[in-house]
């Protein structure tokens, strides 16, 4: 027979272990951030943002083209991912029980879980195989990854809008479509913006789908039909290279990328603070 004292000891020990687990879980994050700042900050300079990549041995190379490339790719992805995702979210929130709604809901979760490299080879098959690497193909691959993310958060946010609001608008003679757009969508705009920002943060750092689509480029290019540089691609190429100078640039690039991603993630949190707070409190 276990004594009450030993049972409480076990209980206290296990609770302490959950504290340890929490500490162990955030330790890698802290280490990664510390290393990024320590190794990246010293390599950051104005020239990193303004200069083009230079050959090995030549000092002062930068990633100007990769930064612009990443922003362009995000832009194309948003043009595809946001309208389709929000439209699908509207459908899911309003026609909750049609077969299409069940299929789209389930498959958007499945799509969300597909490896990004699979999306990459799909975009290659669709857009690159016959036409060559292009910024457009990279943007389409990233846009396809955004769709399920935006769809599900939009649906979730629209469902939090009280029904009385819809009924009030309909009772005043609003058409259904106007109710959806002017009342329901507008009310949950902050939540949808959060979802969009989370999706952007997620795709901004994606590398695998860009390997065979945007491909990377060491020259200045803003053409949609040409290969284009991207920050994550450039970090990858530099970090597996054998040159000290390129390693330093990779760390600097990673610091810039993580800053971009963290700023977007934190912004997303502040747009709708209550959403995450509610989950824990």
């Amino acid at each position: 027979m276990k004594t009450i004292r030993s049972r409480h000891l076990v209980s206290g020990g296990m609770i302490a272990l959950t504290y340890l687990a929490a500490f162990m879980a955030i330790l890698p994050l802290i280490l990664i951030l510390i290393h990024l700042v320590a190794k990246g900050a010293s390599s950051l300079s104005i020239s990193f943002f303004t200069n083009m990549p230079r050959p090995v041995g030549e000092a002062g190379g930068g990633m100007a083209n990769a930064i612009v490339g990443t922003l362009m790719l995000i832009g194309i992805a948003c043009l595809i991912g946001l309208p389709v995702g929000i439209g699908a979210g509207l459908y899911l929130a309003e026609k909750r029980t049609t077969p299409l709604a069940y299929a789209a809901r389930f498959l958007s979760d499945v799509l969300n879980g597909l490896p990004s490299i699979v999306i990459g080879i799909f975009a290659w098959e669709l857009l690159v195989k016959h036409r060559g690497f292009s910024a457009l193909a990279g943007g389409v691959a990233l846009g396809a990854m955004m769709i399920p993310l935006v769809t599900r958060t939009t649906e979730e946010m629209l469902l939090t809008v009280p029904n009385s609001l819809r009924e009030a608008a309909l009772a005043l003679g609003y058409a259904k479509w106007r109710t959806s757009i002017a009342i329901v969508l507008r009310t949950s705009l902050a939540g949808i913006a959060t979802g969009a920002l989370v999706a952007i943060a997620r795709i901004a750092g994606e590398t695998a789908p860009l390997l065979f689509t945007a491909f990377g480029n060491t020259f200045w290019s803003t053409s949609l039909r040409q290969a284009i540089a991207a920050l994550p691609l450039q970090i990858y190429v530099y970090s597996i290279s054998a040159y000290e100078e390129w390693h330093r640039l990779a760390w600097a690039g990673a610091l810039v990328l993580i800053t971009l991603v963290l700023v977007i993630s934190i912004a997303a949190r502040f747009v709708t603070r209550s959403r995450f707070g509610a989950a824990v409190d």
Partner: protein, 324 residues
Amino acid sequence: MTALSAQWFDRERRRLSLDQAAVGDKIYGVLTGFCALIIPALVVAIGVAIFAAAWPALSKVGFSIVTSSDWDVAAGKFGAAPAVFGTLVSSAVALIIATPLAVGVAIFLSEFSPTWLRQPVGFLVDLLAAIPSVVYGLWGIFVLIPLLRDPVMPFLRDTLHLGATPFFTGPAYGPSMLAAGLILAIMALPYISAVSREVLLAVPRSQREAALALGATRWEMIRDAVVPYARSGIIGGIMLGLGRALGETMAVTMVIGNRLEISSSLFAPGYTMASLIANEFSEATNDLHLSALMAVGAVLFVLTLIVNAIARWLVWSVSRGRAK
């Protein structure tokens, strides 16, 4: 007041006659329906495109793409068994490390955390999911691997005498299955803990109160009353983490060593399906090679599809139970 809203109502009704409203509704319904239709269409298109592209290789080598270890592009032999092995083993290592930690974090956040710690710790764990995979890879190459090479691997092998088992033998190069497993563990952790925390919070309060009232300690309450109630949701979270680990590409490619060999030792370099595609796709020498890589992609597609479908089903079954 009433006059005003009646006036407004009339004006509004004139502006939007009922016919117009019906047309608008129709257009709106078609547009949103089309958007919703894109999602299933996309999944089907991805499946069809990849299987069609994989067909030439699949029809030639058949099942040996996953059973044979002979990958010789020049000879037209495409056996990706080491990559399949590497994908499964690195993901298994990741789950073995990440699951206890992630469930521990979830229990901490849902039950034991002081209120002031809850938000920041939850936020930081969520942030782990926001770090780009290439940044994990960079950190893996320059921080984790040197750390493994010098104190960690020799310590495991010699000091702890784990070298006696087949899993921790051989020279400590650094790039290895172990490095990939560790990185994947860090990457899968936030997914597992987010789902686990959610299902733990969905366990009714009465469940906890009943256990405490029967004299359970706080840990016994968790173990006997809370976790069993949330079990299938937690397993769903683990499956979701597994799906992430199976398909993760960049970070793994950067630390696993990229060698097509099957070794029982976690110290040995390996390969995964995703990194095989990432490394060879843009340098594919002929159509059959490309098709074989597509076939590897098809295997990965089916594997993650199954794992994710099971994960969603488990998580949904818990949340449906909550609604009742």
